[in-house]
């Protein structure tokens, strides 16, 4: 069975799970509660994500936490793209600032 990042993201529920845990590791129950789907079905998706290397499951006491593995995701998106986006955002802010200053100078 093929297990790679592309299979991980092929399913909309799995993409939602990735989005959900992108910022913060969550336990299985918390994730399952967000979906209108049976817990075993969500568990199955999480199992696939884990086998694809997109998430890592950490046992903490009785809870199992799902943690995103950014390195794996970078394989899917162009690895530079998010970094480039940071710069784009920064430069767009500078564009705005420069045009405001130029306007102010013209009004003086």
């Amino acid at each position: 069975m093929r297990r790679d990042v592309f299979q991980a993201i092929a399913d909309p529920t799995r993409r939602d799970i990735i989005n959900l845990i992108a910022h913060k590791s969550l336990n299985l129950n918390t994730i399952a509660e967000q979906f209108d789907m049976s817990r075993p079905a969500i568990s199955q998706h999480i199992k696939i994500l884990s086998e694809c290397g997109i998430i890592m499951i950490n046992q903490q006491g009785r809870e199992r936490y799902c943690e995103i593995q950014p390195k794996k995701l970078i394989e899917v998106v162009d690895w530079l793209e998010p970094f480039k986006k940071l710069w784009e955002g920064r430069f767009n802010q500078l564009d705005n600032l420069l045009s405001i200053i130029k306007k102010q100078k013209n009004e003086q």
Binding site: N19, V76, F83, N92, S99
Partner: protein
């Protein structure tokens, strides 16, 4: 925004450098000010949703810019730029670092040596940026960190991006 303004972005894996080139629709003096004045840097340097609070900026070789990247939850990440070379309106070089609020660097995260060249042609100013690193792993680490922080932005577009990738 003028979408005709050039924006180049590339990584040279042999030299461990990141190359960024961007044009701005403003004259050289103004762009230089935007890169060297705390009041102006505060307004654009931080990627959203962060903002910058400058603690001090001493624009001379051996001086530093000490600032915090402040998250929407008011968490501060202190950074500094140690100025290495300054030629007004031409060249600005610094070594960056993550640090504490007194500028004492933390060596956990890799440092980048920035060399920024400024040129103007017919009212359009080009900034040529080279970020030099000790090793390729440093770049990978920066990109991974940028990835985590840029995730808010990137994730919003993930669905769209994935759709195009699958085509």
């Amino acid at each position: 925004m003028n979408s005709n303004l050039l924006f180049d972005f590339s990584v040279n894996k042999e030299n461990n450098t990141i190359h960024i080139k961007r044009e701005f629709d403003a004259n050289l003096e103004l762009v230089w000010q935007a890169w060297t004045t705390a009041e102006l840097l505060n307004q654009w340097w931080a990627p959203k949703p962060y903002h910058i609070e400058t603690k001090s900026l001493d624009l001379r070789v051996g001086g530093m810019w000490l600032y915090a990247m402040v998250s929407p939850k008011d968490e501060k990440m202190w950074c500094k730029a140690d100025y290495k070379a300054i030629e007004t309106n031409t060249l600005l070089s610094w070594l960056d670092a993550f640090c504490d609020e007194n500028g004492k660097e933390n060596t956990v995260k890799p440092r980048s040596l920035w060399t920024n060249n400024f040129t103007e042609n017919n009212g359009i100013t080009t900034v040529n940026i080279v970020l030099k690193h000790d090793k390729l792993e440093d770049i990978e680490m920066l990109i991974e960190m940028g990835f985590k922080e840029g995730l808010t932005m990137a994730m919003g577009n993930l669905d769209e991006l994935l759709l195009t990738l699958k085509k």
